[in-house]
């Protein structure tokens, strides 16, 4: 045996040994590994689809928990799609504004297909009406409408912004003659369901003839001038887009807030026009009836009839809760211990610390009773799989802004909610403040609490002092009588309301001075045609004149020379 072959043999022996030893080494490493996860927790990626109404806050929560190793994927697509995907077992959770309807409005089954589930309230909020309306290039930011006017706008009965009903809602303030273009959802949407449910309960005589039957629908019956768009963000983009002048649409309050767009102040039963800030939504929802029967399949779902008619002057009528649908079956084919643990911890974060972000993002935090009930629903995950660890996750350690430390049965947020400003009352105003700023309009002090690390609270002090409301011509407090649109023509273009950001320091008297819309006559084609002809003649002359002149000039010396 030569030396070289000996070395080669030695090498191959070494390689073989290494191959043998390596797996043992890895095995040793992997036995060390699980010792740590036993203390921490193992997570697995969970996926969900559903509501775009609550998508903005859910995406924020997902970004927050990502640092803790929880991977959650949420893709929106509409509540109807969320419920359907969950029923087909293709997602781990769904988010929907409305529960499974049994049979949907189109006569098809809308059930979970036998998959066991529980409803879990995740956040409250107000369905807001955002719009783009310009008077002389200035965007109107303090429009107010009654529910009846809104219902008539979305059922094509009020089709122009100069409609007397809109002027009456704004205490006689006239708007330009501009067609109203409602922007509605074209996909199956929980926002549409909440909006149409409100119309069906509050204004059945307007809604039912339009829809052709009673009840809510997830698919808005688009007609006439209305534009359909898929998803809340596309609705918002269309309204904020270049062609948005004259449009109005319905989305969750967070969307206009995010886009810095105004929302309609909606008239409540107490006669005040209010904006859906976290306070007004929380106040309204104190009257929500929650299904308290744990054995009912609709446990924890909402009945909002009393919310619509809440007589508190601070209440925003179209407020509602959003729900997560979680799988509770112990044999659920998609779920594993790690996934259940991820879902439980994600929800624990969302219901507690995550609720702090609800207000600043344009939603409203859940009250204590719903958070407690939510914890009971999360506990069903442990019932399904005893390996899920829920220790040290309870309501007492929860950092939720609605909780009053002394009296847990009270909703702190609803208590500190400020009374609306006097100029928001029917027959007064309208207030000069901008809407869509996440600050409730009030004559008193703005509430201060843990939720105010808002993106909106960046030093811009909210309008606090009293807003005197004066007529733009007489300087007197306006009455309910509509102002003659021709009378205050002298004021046109002097001052405008929307001095953004400086409203607080500015004397409020200027706040009620609005530009008065004037209607221009259409540019008739006859004018354009005349000028086109003149322009064409001039052009021809311009081209021909030098030539003609040159020939004339050339002839002259010839004549002289003769």
């Amino acid at each position: 045996m030569t030396r070289r072959t000996r070395i080669r043999a030695l090498l191959s022996l070494l390689v073989a040994a290494a191959c043998l030893i390596a797996p043992v080494g890895f095995a040793a490493a992997s036995t060390v590994g699980p010792a740590t996860p036993a203390l921490r927790t193992t997570y697995a990626q969970i996926e969900g689809t559903g509501s775009t109404w609550s998508e903005l806050i859910v995406q924020q929560w997902i970004a927050d928990v990502d640092a803790n190793g929880m991977k959650v994927v949420y893709t929106g697509g509409g509540s109807s799609k969320g419920r359907k995907d969950f029923a087909q077992g293709s997602t781990d959770f769904a988010i929907s504004e409305i529960p499974y309807q049994g049979t949907d409005e189109q006569g098809n089954a809308d059930t979970s297909n036998g998959r066991q589930f529980a409803y879990l309230p995740i956040v409250a909020g107000g369905t807001a009406f955002t719009y783009q309306l310009k008077i002389g290039g200035q965007q109107v930011k303090n429009l107010r409408l009654s529910g009846e006017t809104i219902a008539k706008i979305f059922t094509n009965q009020i089709t122009n912004w100069n409609d007397p009903a809109i002027a009456a809602d704004n205490n006689g303030r006239a708007f330009p003659s501009l067609p109203i273009t409602p922007v509605v959802r074209s996909d199956g949407s929980g926002t549409t369901a909440q909006f149409t449910l409100w119309m069906d309960k509050s204004y059945p005589s307007i809604w039912r003839p339009f829809y052709g039957k009673s009840g809510l629908t997830s698919y808005y019956p688009r007609q006439g001038r209305a534009i359909g768009q898929a998803g809340s963000d596309q609705v918002m983009n269309t309204i904020a887009g270049f062609a948005g002048n004259g449009t109005i649409g319905y989305v969750e309050y967070s969307y206009p807030l995010n886009k810095d767009y105004p929302v309609v102040k909606v008239l409540n039963k107490a006669g005040y026009y209010v904006e859906p800030t976290q306070y007004n939504t929380a106040v309204a929802l104190t009257k929500a009836q929650i299904n308290q029967d744990p054995n009912s399949p609709l446990y924890l779902t909402q009945i909002l009839d009393n919310v619509y008619t809440n007589a508190d002057p601070r209440a925003y009528p179209i407020s509602s809760y959003s729900y997560m649908i979680i799988p509770t079956g112990s044999t659920d084919p998609r779920m594993t211990t790690a996934k259940r643990q991820t879902l439980a911890d994600f929800m624990y974060y969302s219901l507690c610390a995550g609720q702090t972000k609800a207000g600043p993002y344009g939603y409203s935090p859940l009250p204590l009773n719903l958070v407690q009930a939510g914890f009971d629903q999360i506990a069903k995950l442990k019932t399904a799989d005893p390996a899920v660890d829920l220790t040290s996750r309870d309501v007492k350690s929860c950092n939720n802004p609605t909780f009053d430390g002394k009296n847990l049965s009270k909703n702190k947020l609803a208590q500190i909610a400020p009374q609306p400003a006097a100029c928001d009352k029917t027959g007064a105003g309208p207030c000069g403040y901008d809407t869509g700023t996440n600050q409730p309009s009030t004559d008193g002090q703005q509430p201060t609490d843990g939720t105010s690390q808002a993106p909106a609270a960046d030093g811009t002090s909210p309008p606090t002092d009293t807003a005197p409301v004066v007529d733009s011509t007489t300087g007197e407090v306006v009455q309910a009588a509509p102002v003659d649109p021709a009378a205050p023509a002298a004021d046109t273009g002097t001052t405008t309301t929307d001095t953004t950001g400086t409203t607080a320091t500015q004397p409020q008297a200027a706040a009620a001075d609005f530009p008065v819309p004037t209607e221009l006559a259409a540019a008739r084609p006859a004018d354009t045609k005349t000028f086109s002809w003149v322009a064409a003649l001039l052009l021809v002359a311009l081209v021909l004149m030098p030539g003609v002149m040159a020939t004339k000039l050339r002839r002259r010396p010839v004549r002289r020379g003769q």
Binding site: N108, S186, D187, G188, R225, G241, A243, G246, A522, A523
Partner: protein, 336 residues
């Protein structure tokens, strides 16, 4: 004495070697596998068609001929028809081809005939890159960047060519002091422009390849006879590449018919048969399927698949037509 072998005797024993065209050994394996793979394409396409037809059958049997004549899509009222979506599909595709065809043709001509050799490969790579951009990007591009300008162009068209039915926009005065921009957005016209950018690279690639196969002998002959470059292009390159031009256009049309996400983003669904391409609201078969698929029940799914079946047949016809045209043309065959 010597015996001379008679040729007859020899010949009687010799039999001709049997010639077989059947391949043997490794060749046989290769032939069989190639044939299988080739056939699998047919099987897959046929399978898609058969599946769609099978799924569409209940819907077609239930609604019959009215499925093709009804324009409304209201499953809740048991009224379902694809007249409006088919009309929308065709109008979006035609608008797309109106913009894509000249762009693709001139780009292909420039790259193959005029572009300096230095930038030729860069241009080809850029066109390929355009084809690789996801359609949602084109959708966002169309929605945010193109739609405002497309709407102004639409207004101009309506103002000056409004007497042509396709340029009419209902219920709005083009000469109003402030034009009603909401009537000109989310239309087949806007969607068609976005789609045209998606089909352009595909049509351009086919045309460029055919142009580059033009026999250099014929090109040089034309030049030698004193033709200008443009004269050479019109007399040699374009006639030679006619099949490629038509084929590329048809392939682009096939893709334009089925384009989905960009259309979903841009259009406002409206179910009415209308030739007014500038007006807000239209719907295409694929955008209808994409919009309703996620939340469809069994019967609705069947209706959507029936619509998909019709779209499948249309694209099949268009693409087959393209293939026939390309095959019958002189391109790439019989030249010297």
């Amino acid at each position: 004495m010597t015996t001379i072998p008679t040729p007859e005797a020899e010949l009687a024993q010799v039999s001709p070697r049997r010639l077989s065209r059947a391949s043997t050994g490794a060749d046989a394996v290769f032939t069989a596998s190639a044939r299988t793979i080739g056939a699998s394409v047919l099987v897959i396409t046929g399978g898609v068609g058969a599946f769609l037809a099978w799924q569409a059958y209940p819907t077609l049997r239930r609604y019959g001929w009215s499925f093709f004549t009804e324009s409304q899509w209201q499953p809740d009222q048991d009224v379902i028809g694809i007249a409006a979506v088919l009309c929308g599909t065709v109008s979006v595709a035609l608008v797309a081809m109106f913009f894509a065809f000249p762009l693709a043709l001139l780009t292909a001509l420039y790259i193959s005939e005029y572009a300096p050799a230095r930038i030729k490969s860069t241009l080809v790579a850029l066109i390929d890159l355009m084809a690789a951009v996801p359609s949602i990007v084109y959708g966002l591009w169309g929605f945010f960047l193109i739609m405002p300008h497309a709407a102004e162009l639409a207004l101009w068209l309506q103002r000056h060519l409004g007497w042509i039915p396709i340029f009419q926009v209902a219920d709005t005065d083009p000469n109003a002091a402030t034009w009603d921009a909401t009537r000109y957005v989310s239309s087949a016209f806007c969607a068609g422009i976005a789609v045209s950018m998606m089909v352009m690279p595909m049509a351009c690639a086919v045309m460029r390849q055919v142009f580059s196969q033009t026999p250099p002998g014929e090109k040089e002959a034309a030049l030698a006879l004193g033709a200008t470059k443009w004269g050479m292009v019109t007399s040699v390159v374009l006639p030679f590449g006619r099949g490629g031009i038509i084929g590329g256009t048809m392939l682009g049309l096939g893709r334009a018919l089925g384009e989905t996400i960009a259309v979903v983003l841009i259009v406002s669904p409206a179910f009415e048969v209308k030739p007014r391409i500038l007006e807000v609201g239209t719907s295409t078969v694929s955008s209808l399927i994409a919009g309703r698929f996620g939340e469809a029940s069994t019967s609705q799914l069947s209706a959507l698949l029936a619509a998909g079946f019709v779209l499948f047949l249309i694209t099949l016809v268009v693409n087959t037509g393209a293939a026939v045209v390309v095959n019958r043309s002189r391109s790439g065959a019989g030249v010297d």
